[in-house]
C-alpha cells in the first residue's frame, strides 16, 4: 500500500502529475502555473518535468484561457485550465457557459470538449475582495457542464484524475482554505466513482448535507454535538452536478431531519436545490422542514467579519437544534 501523508494541495499536484503522465494530450494552462507553480503551488514542478508546451503560462486573460482551451480540445487535446481565484472566473463566464457547455450539443455530439476548469474557491483565508467567493451554483445551473468539489486530500488526488479523464467539461472547485489540510492518501486505492456522494460521518439523528470546505466544519460540528448526545450524519456531496440523490435520500429517510450547509449565499443556491429535492422525495419521512445554513445575501464581506458570514460550528449546531426541536 502506497499510503502517504499529503496536504490537499499536494494531493492535487500529484493527481495532476499522474494525469499528465497517463495521457500526452493533457495540458495545464493558466496564470502563473508554470515557473511559479501556481499561487497555491498546486502545479508546482510540473512545468519543469513536462515542459512549457504542456504546462503553459498564459497571458492574463481568463476568457482567453478558456477560449483557447476550447480550440485545443477541438484539436484533440485535454486541457486543464486554472482560474487563479473564484472571483476571477467571470471574465471567462461567457466562454464557459456559451461555448464549453454547449459545443457538444450544438455539434450533435461530433465535438467533445474534455476540459477541466480548476477554481480555488471559498473564504476563510483573510483575503481581499474577489478571493473568497463560492460561485458553484452558476455552473451547476448550466446544462452541459459537470461540477465537482473535493473536501479532503484522498478525494483531491483521485477526483482530479477522474475529472481530467472525463470526456465532458468539468468545473472542479478546490476548497482553498483546506489546501493545507493533511491526511493519509493511499495512491493505490481504487477510488469511488466520481458521481457518488460520500458518508463522511455516519449518524442517526440529523443529516447534514454539505460539500467542499464546509465538510470539515460540519465534521467538527458533529464531533461537538456528540458530547451533547446528538448523532449527526454528514454527507459530502462531492459531485454538485449531477448530484447523487440516492445517497441523500437514503440518509434523510433514515434520520428524518436535514440541514444543508455551504458557504454560498443560500438564496437560489445549490442548497436551495438540495432542500427542494429532499422535500419532493422524502416528504413523508421528514419531521422538520429542511434548513439551510450558508452565506448571507451580501457580497462577500471584508475579512475581519468573514467569520460572521461563513457557516461555522455554532450556526450549524443551531440549525441542528432547530431541526430536532421542530
Amino acid at each position: 500500500m502506497a499510503a502517504r501523508t499529503l496536504t490537499l494541495g499536494k494531493a492535487l499536484n500529484e493527481g495532476l502529475r499522474k494525469a499528465l503522465e497517463a495521457d500526452p494530450k493533457v495540458l495545464i494552462m493558466g496564470e502563473d502555473v508554470g515557473r511559479l507553480g501556481g499561487v497555491f503551488r498546486v502545479t508546482d514542478g510540473l512545468q519543469k518535468d513536462f515542459g512549457e508546451d504542456r504546462v503553459i503560462d498564459t497571458p492574463l486573460a481568463e476568457s482567453g484561457i478558456v477560449g483557447t482551451a476550447v480550440g485545443l480540445a477541438i484539436r484533440g487535446f485535454r486541457p486543464v485550465c486554472e482560474i487563479q481565484f473564484d472571483g476571477f472566473v467571470f471574465p471567462a463566464f461567457d466562454q464557459i457557459v456559451s461555448q464549453v457547455a454547449k459545443m457538444r450539443y450544438r455539434s450533435a455530439g461530433h465535438v467533445a470538449l474534455p476540459i477541466t476548469i480548476r477554481i480555488p474557491y471559498g473564504g476563510g483565508i483573510g483575503a481581499v475582495e474577489h478571493h473568497s467567493e463560492s460561485p458553484e451554483t452558476y455552473f451547476a445551473h448550466t446544462p452541459g457542464l459537470k461540477v465537482v468539489t473535493c473536501s479532503n486530500p484522498a478525494d483531491a488526488y483521485s477526483m482530479i484524475q477522474q475529472a481530467v479523464s472525463c470526456d465532458d467539461p468539468i468545473v472542479f472547485f478546490e476548497p482553498k482554505r483546506r489546501y493545507w489540510d493533511k491526511a493519509e492518501v493511499d495512491t493505490d486505492a481504487a477510488p469511488a466513482p466520481l458521481w457518488t456522494a460520500r458518508v463522511a460521518r455516519a449518524g442517526t439523528d440529523v443529516t447534514v448535507i454539505t460539500y467542499g470546505p464546509s465538510v470539515r466544519t460540519c465534521l467538527e460540528a458533529a464531533a461537538a454535538a456528540e458530547s451533547e448526545g446528538r448523532d449527526i450524519e454528514v454527507i459530502d456531496l462531492r459531485a454538485l452536478s449531477p448530484i447523487d440523490w440516492g445517497a441523500v435520500v437514503e440518509s434523510v429517510t433514515k434520520t428524518q431531519h436535514a440541514v444543508v450547509v455551504a458557504e454560498a449565499p443560500v438564496f437560489a443556491s445549490l442548497s436551495a436545490e438540495v432542500a427542494a429535492r429532499i422535500s419532493e422525495r422524502c416528504f413523508y419521512s421528514l419531521e422538520a422542514p429542511v434548513l439551510r445554513v450558508g452565506g448571507y445575501s451580501t457580497p462577500y464581506p471584508t475579512s475581519r467579519v468573514e467569520e460572521d458570514f461563513l457557516p461555522d460550528l455554532d450556526r450549524i449546531l443551531d440549525a441542528v437544534d432547530r431541526s430536532l426541536a421542530f
Binding site: S63, T68, G71, L72, Q95, H110, P242, D244
Partner: protein
C-alpha cells in the same frame, strides 16, 4: 474621420486590389497571383453559386420556411477568396454568415439551413470538412481558432486555422485576447475580418478610430487591407497569410474591405439607419460583375459558360429548397441527446419523466 476610414482603391499599396470593379487586372508589388482562365472561371462559378444559395435562403425565409437568415449578399468575393485559399488541412472558425466559406469547404448548404429552420443547432461534423460550427456570440470563435492553432503547434499538424469575424467583433474582448494569444504563442492562425461597414445599425466609426488592419501592428503581427470585393486579391492575400502561418511565421490580420448589401438578418430593416445612396455606390463594386467583365473581355469565358453556370446555380437552388423542406423535425425526446459524452443521472431522470409524460398522451388516445 470617415474619409480616413474609407479610402478609395486609388489610395495605393496599402489597399490590395488585383481586379478593378471594371474587371481590369492590376498589379500589386507584394501580391502576385498566377492564375489561369480555368481557375478564374472556377471562382466565378463559386461566386455565383454562393449568391444563389443566399438568394434562395432569403426567399425560403420570406416564405416562412426559415425562421431567420443572415445574408452574405455583397461579401461573396471575400468568402470565396478566403475559402479557396484554405486547404483540406486548414480549419475554418466561422461566424453565422460564412455560407460562402462553407460552400468552398464542401459543406452541403442544406446542412446550414437546419440552424435557421430550427431543426438543428448546426449539428454538422466540423472535422469532416475542417469547418467549425456557426458561432453567434460575437468573436468567441477567434479564441477557438487560436487554441486550435496552438494545438497544431503541439501535434505537428501541417495546416493553419482561420478565424472569421466582422468589424463589430473587432471591439470584443475575446478578439483582442485572441490577438494577444496568437502573437505571444506565434500561433498559425489567420484572422480574417470582413469589414462590411455595418454591425447591424452601427457604422464602422462606432467601432474604431483607426483602420482595423492597423491594429495588428499593436499586437505584433502584420495586418493587411484587401479589396474584399475582389476575389483574386482576397485569394492572393489569404494564401500568403496562410503560407506564412504554416511555415511558422505566426498570425496575420486580413481586413477584407467589403459591404453588407442586405440587411443584417431577415429580421433587420436597414432603411432605418443607412442611405440608399451608399448602397448604390457599392453596387458599382459588385464582386461578381467584375469577374464576369474580366472573363468576357479577356475571352476567358463565353456566353455558353455563363449560361451553364446559371443553370448549375438554379439546380443548386432547387436542391437547397427541396432539402430545406425535407429537413425532419426532431423527435422531442432527442432534445436530451448529446448534452454529455458520458451521460448524466440528472438528464437520464428528466428524459424518463419527459418520455412518460409524452407517452401519457398516446395512452389517452390523443
Amino acid at each position: 474621420m470617415t474619409e480616413a476610414l474609407r479610402p478609395q482603391p486609388s489610395e495605393g499599396p496599402e489597399f490590395v486590389q488585383l481586379l478593378t470593379p471594371e474587371g481590369e487586372r492590376v498589379a500589386h508589388p507584394d501580391y502576385d497571383l498566377e492564375i489561369s482562365d480555368e481557375e478564374i472561371r472556377g471562382l466565378y462559378r463559386d461566386l455565383l453559386m454562393v449568391r444563389r444559395i443566399d438568394t434562395e435562403a432569403t426567399a425560403l425565409q420570406r416564405q416562412g420556411e426559415l425562421g431567420l437568415w443572415a445574408s452574405l449578399l455583397g461579401q461573396e468575393a471575400a468568402q470565396v477568396g478566403a475559402g479557396r485559399a484554405l486547404t483540406a488541412s486548414d480549419f475554418a472558425f466561422p461566424t453565422y454568415r460564412e455560407h460562402g466559406v462553407a460552400f468552398c469547404k464542401g459543406v452541403d448548404p442544406v446542412t446550414l439551413l437546419g440552424l435557421f429552420r430550427g431543426t438543428s443547432q448546426g449539428g454538422w461534423d466540423p472535422y469532416q470538412n475542417g469547418f467549425g460550427l456557426y458561432t453567434i456570440v460575437i468573436g468567441s470563435q477567434t479564441l477557438h481558432a487560436t487554441g486550435y492553432a496552438m494545438g497544431l503547434q503541439r501535434d505537428g499538424g501541417d495546416g493553419a486555422a482561420m478565424a472569421f469575424f466582422g468589424d463589430g467583433a473587432s471591439s470584443q474582448g475575446d478578439v483582442n485576447e485572441a490577438f494577444v494569444w496568437a502573437s505571444v504563442f506565434n500561433a498559425p492562425v489567420v484572422f480574417f475580418c470582413q469589414n462590411n461597414q455595418w454591425a447591424i445599425s452601427e457604422p464602422l466609426e462606432k467601432q474604431t478610430r483607426i483602420p482595423l488592419y492597423r491594429r495588428a501592428q499593436g499586437f505584433g503581427f502584420p495586418g493587411v487591407r484587401v479589396d474584399g470585393n475582389d476575389v483574386l486579391a482576397v485569394l492572393a492575400v489569404t494564401r500568403q497569410a496562410l503560407a506564412r502561418a504554416r511555415e511558422g511565421s505566426g498570425p496575420t490580420l486580413v481586413e477584407a474591405w467589403t459591404y453588407r448589401m442586405g440587411a443584417h438578418t431577415t429580421s433587420d430593416d436597414p432603411t432605418r439607419y443607412r442611405l440608399a445612396a451608399e448602397l448604390e455606390t457599392w453596387k458599382l463594386k459588385d464582386p461578381i460583375e467584375r469577374v464576369k467583365a474580366h472573363l468576357s473581355r479577356s475571352g476567358g469565358a463565353d456566353a455558353t459558360f455563363f449560361a451553364e453556370v446559371d443553370t448549375a446555380a438554379d439546380e443548386l437552388a432547387a436542391h437547397l429548397r427541396a432539402g430545406c423542406l425535407a429537413l425532419p423535425d426532431p423527435d422531442p425526446i432527442t432534445l436530451f441527446d448529446n448534452v454529455y459524452a458520458e451521460g448524466s443521472s440528472l438528464l437520464d431522470e428528466e428524459r424518463e419523466q419527459c418520455a412518460a409524460y409524452l407517452a401519457s398522451f398516446a395512452a389517452a388516445g390523443h
